[in-house]
């Protein structure tokens, strides 16, 4: 049994220690907002926060997540998350939407650390998140819009 803290709640899961956090979230805890895209940390669809830092849940073994605070798209909250989600909605960023949980988790982490990111900062923080629909221009615009909204 592994005890995980997910979105502020302790959850005991009976899984092998090497089971990636991704599958714990999706298959054991029914938190399906975190997506499976590649399984090798190349696409970012499974991005969650571990103690506030973005990590790829597909490459995070369950036992390594014990003792940390995990936040998923279902639990992300606060000023930055609200601003990011509001800007995403305002600019209609999504197309198929499958990658967007991960995009948003990465964007929230970026803006939490850096309230006024440059284009280079955005490149560095967001290049790990693939969008096959290529919604990238709106992702960039939404990050800037959220930064502006928080600064206002």
């Amino acid at each position: 049994m592994i005890r995980l803290n997910i979105n502020g709640q302790d959850r005991d899961v009976d899984v092998p220690g090497d089971m990636p956090l991704l599958w714990v979230l999706r298959d054991e805890l029914n938190l399906t907002g975190t997506k499976f895209g590649c399984g090798i940390a190349q696409c970012g669809a499974c991005t969650v926060h571990m103690d506030g830092t973005p990590v790829r849940a597909c490459q995070t073994p369950a036992d390594s997540a014990a003792g940390t605070r995990i936040t998923t798209i279902e639990g992300v909250s606060g000023t930055v998350a609200q601003a990011v989600q509001a800007s995403w909605q305002k600019l209609d960023v999504v197309q198929c939407g499958y990658c967007q949980s991960g995009q948003i988790m990465s964007a929230v982490a970026l803006l939490t650390d850096n309230r006024n990111p440059t284009d280079d900062d955005i490149d560095a923080a967001m290049d790990g998140n693939v969008c096959r629909c290529a919604t990238y221009p709106r992702i960039r615009a939404a990050i800037k819009d959220a930064a502006k909204a928080m600064g206002a």
Partner: protein, 734 residues
């Protein structure tokens, strides 16, 4: 060309309607709208409809007592925004308030929801808006008339004195009003009017309105949108499948002992298409598959690599193929040409790799049928295939279509491939539990159904004045139509229309044009891929035209315009893109500007790309300008997104993507080897939409064909180097 699908399939897939669904669903009141019998006849430029000649009762609109209006959307929304677009069309004619509108995927029911272009229920070929434009406007207008008639009767006033605005039905003289929800139950009892007046485009308030948000803009930003991957049925198990690493290989022997020892693995099933590992969860299923030992029989497998295939294609290209078009005498005109330009183009296999890997959940039902949850794109085919596997009637196969995490063509297959796998596994598992079949990314990248590998040889001639007089093109590549239910319709005289579209019917005035085609078979499976044949034909055409302009000493825009007389819409986008891009304004050394224009899926698109090439040959795309004419725009915000996204799609693949085979084995396996475009690589892009009230046409695919040739032509302008072999890395670009 997909637009021409499919009479045979229509006859083949006769699914009795299940209108009971509509009546009973969720306690909602259903307003069934019968299509007026005038059908499409009132429209001068109506599409060629393959579907029922006599319009049948349709049901697209559900008005609930809580005043919500739900539009049943018969097309899969895989990101292209069709749920929003089709809901908008109904809302406009209904004079609804946008806030009361909802969308829901329609059930699988060919009698009600066939795509009129295909004759079966399915999404593809950028047809969705064009296909639903008339029927949903008429459904909305009929529903509005029924609401008015109900209010008129209730208030004893003439219908003509009643107005509808933003979801409120009002009789001004008596100051009475009612909301839709108050009228819907009685309205549904009225006969459906057979003649309804449709709005004039100038009166639209919702269609063309840039401020309408997508219906999925909230659920896809808070993690609540449910994709097929997220379906969780009580007691469901997960299956992954081991498939032959070589295309055409079959199972010879299986040692499942180690797999069965993996904790969580429930069963290992040897099936015609591979070996399925069924487990309590996805991780266990994946671990179980890793522990399998399978010996494959390669007797009928593709053993060649792509280099060997290309060598074979080159030989074929020099032999006469099946003739797609033959106007004038291209050989003679080439012999007499003042200048001849020749090129060989290579287009690699490409995977669709939608973000959501393929998956479906299947639950067997006690009546011998099943219920399927999937990002279902070809419900008409899938129902029939599933029924064939289970030995039941197609109508015993219930398909719940859910949001799809991309497709780009992959989820629509003539044999319902992954759905067939899921149903086969569920059957073999004996109905003990609902089965969720999951493809991993490796399964996807190595799983075939690729855009075919294509080789083109093109030879074109100019006369002494620099006028194009001859064009001869030989195209070699697999057909994904031959051997499918679409063959009879799509393959004529040995020519698969989807392999030559955009080439054999090119708009440029060429008096002597010859295009032929070889379709060499291979066990490597191939499929339509966002914009289908235009993915390669538009590239070859637009890069060649650019070379011819250079050879003629003419400006690439002027040269094209000269040859596009009689094609005002192509001219329109070409001129607009050129103007917005500042065509003709000088650029510094090391920079170049390129243009391309093309018609696909009845839409017209031009791209201008501006690039910088540094001393090491590194290309940066500084700016892309795009002009699109897709007729009446339903949602400009979504059109912009689709064309911008299509541009990124095209450029991303052109830069470096290819699926290659060595000894029949796929060299790539995931996003490390098949590298998707990333945020920092997306160029700034402007999309300009030509205002139009012409019939709406698609935008999901037409943004793709011209983006890569525009970049290639810009690289030429900057460096003098031609990019004939895709991806660009194969032509020496980094």
């Amino acid at each position: 060309m997909l637009n021409q699908l499919i009479k045979q399939a229509a006859a083949d897939v006769a699914s009795p309607s299940r209108r009971g669904f509509l009546k009973g669903a969720g306690g909602a009141l259903v307003l069934g709208a019968m299509l007026p019998r005038t059908g499409f006849a009132s429209e001068a430029a109506a599409p060629k409809v393959v579907g029922p000649a006599d319009p049948r009762p349709q049901a697209f609109i559900r008005i609930a007592a809580d005043d919500t209006v739900t539009v049943l959307v018969k097309h899969l929304d895989k990101g292209q925004g069709i749920m929003t677009g089709l809901t908008t069309i109904v809302a406009e004619e209904l004079d609804a308030d946008w806030a009361q509108m909802r969308g829901a995927f329609a059930p699988a029911d060919g009698a009600l929801y066939a795509n009129h272009f295909f004759g079966i229920q399915g999404t593809g070929g950028s047809t969705a808006v064009a296909n639903s434009w008339d029927e949903l406007r008429m459904a909305g207008a009929a529903a509005r008339a029924m609401l008015i008639a109900t209010a008129a009767a209730r208030w004893s006033v003439p219908a003509s004195a009643i107005a509808v605005e933003k979801g409120v039905v009002r009789h001004a003289a008596s100051n009475r009003s009612a909301r839709f929800g108050e009228l819907a139950e009685d309205a549904a009892k009225l006969p459906v009017p057979q003649n309804v007046a449709l709005k004039d485009a100038k009166d639209y308030t919702l269609i063309g309105n840039p401020s309408l948000h997508r219906l999925d803009h909230v659920s896809k930003t808070d993690g609540t949108a449910i994709f097929a991957m997220d379906i969780r049925r009580p007691g469901q198990v997960t299956a992954v499948m081991a498939r032959s690493p070589r295309f055409g290989g079959t199972v010879k022997s299986v040692d499942a002992a180690a797999a069965k020892r993996v904790p969580g693995v429930l069963e290992v099933l040897t099936l015609p298409m591979g070996v399925a590992v069924v487990a309590r969860n996805t991780w266990a299923a994946m671990k179980g598959r890793e522990a399998l030992t399978v010996e494959w029989d390669d007797a009928k497998a593709e053993m060649r690599g792509t280099e060997e295939m290309l060598a074979d294609y080159r030989k074929l290209a020099d032999q006469p193929g099946n003739v797609a078009t033959d106007t004038g005498d291209a050989a003679k005109a080439l012999a007499g040409a003042a200048k001849v330009v020749e090129a060989e183009f290579v287009f690699p296999y490409l995977a669709h790799a939608p973000m959501e890997p393929l998956n479906a959940t299947v639950e067997l039902t006690p009546d011998g049928g099943c219920t399927i949850w999937a990002g279902s794109q070809f419900q008409g085919v899938e129902q029939k295939v599933a029924a064939g596997i289970l030995g039941c009637k197609p109508e015993q196969v219930v398909i719940n279509t859910v949001w799809a995490g991309g497709s780009f063509g992959r989820r629509a297959t003539p044999d319902a491939d992954y759905i067939a796998e899921a149903v086969t596994i569920a059957k073999a598992y004996g109905g003990k539990a609902p089965v969720h079949l999951v493809w991993t990314r490796e399964d996807d990248i190595r799983g075939g159904r690729y855009r075919p590998l294509f080789l083109h040889k093109v030879k074109a001639g100019l006369d002494a004045s620099g006028t194009l007089v001859a064009w001869r093109q030989s195209i070699v590549g697999q057909s994904f139509m031959i051997g499918t239910l679409f063959e009879g319709f799509m393959v004529k005289n040995g020519v698969d229309a989807t392999a030559v579209e955009g080439a054999s019917d090119m708009a440029y005035a060429v008096p002597n044009l010859h295009v032929d085609l070889h379709s060499p078979p291979s066990p490597v499976t191939t499929l339509w891929w966002r914009s289908v044949g235009h993915t390669h034909t538009a590239y070859a055409k637009e890069v060649m035209i650019d070379e011819l302009a250079a050879a003629a000493g003419k400006d690439p825009v002027a040269f094209r315009l000269e040859m596009l007389k009689g094609h005002p819409r192509l001219q329109g986008v070409l001129k607009l893109a050129a103007e917005k891009a500042g065509w003709g304004q000088p650029l510094p050394k090391g920079k170049g500007r390129g243009i391309a224009v093309h018609e696909s899926f009845s839409s017209f698109v031009a791209h201008v790309a501006e690039v910088s090439v540094d001393e090491q040959g590194r290309v940066t795309i500084d700016r892309v300008v795009c002009a699109v004419d897709c007729g009446q725009v339903v949602n400009p915000n979504i059109v912009e997104a689709q064309v911008s996204g299509g541009t990124g799609w095209a450029i991303g693949h052109a830069l470096r993507d290819e699926i290659t085979l060595t000894g029949g084995l796929v060299d790539q396996s995931n996003f490390d080897g098949y590298q998707p475009l990333r945020n920092s690589e997306m160029p700034p892009i402007e999309v300009h939409i030509l205002p139009s009230t012409a019939r709406p046409t698609g935008v999901g695919e037409p943004g793709v064909p011209t983006a890569a040739p525009a970049v290639a032509n810009a690289v030429f302008a900057a460096t003098g180097k031609r990019l004939h072999h895709l991806p660009f890395t194969r032509s020496g670009m980094v």
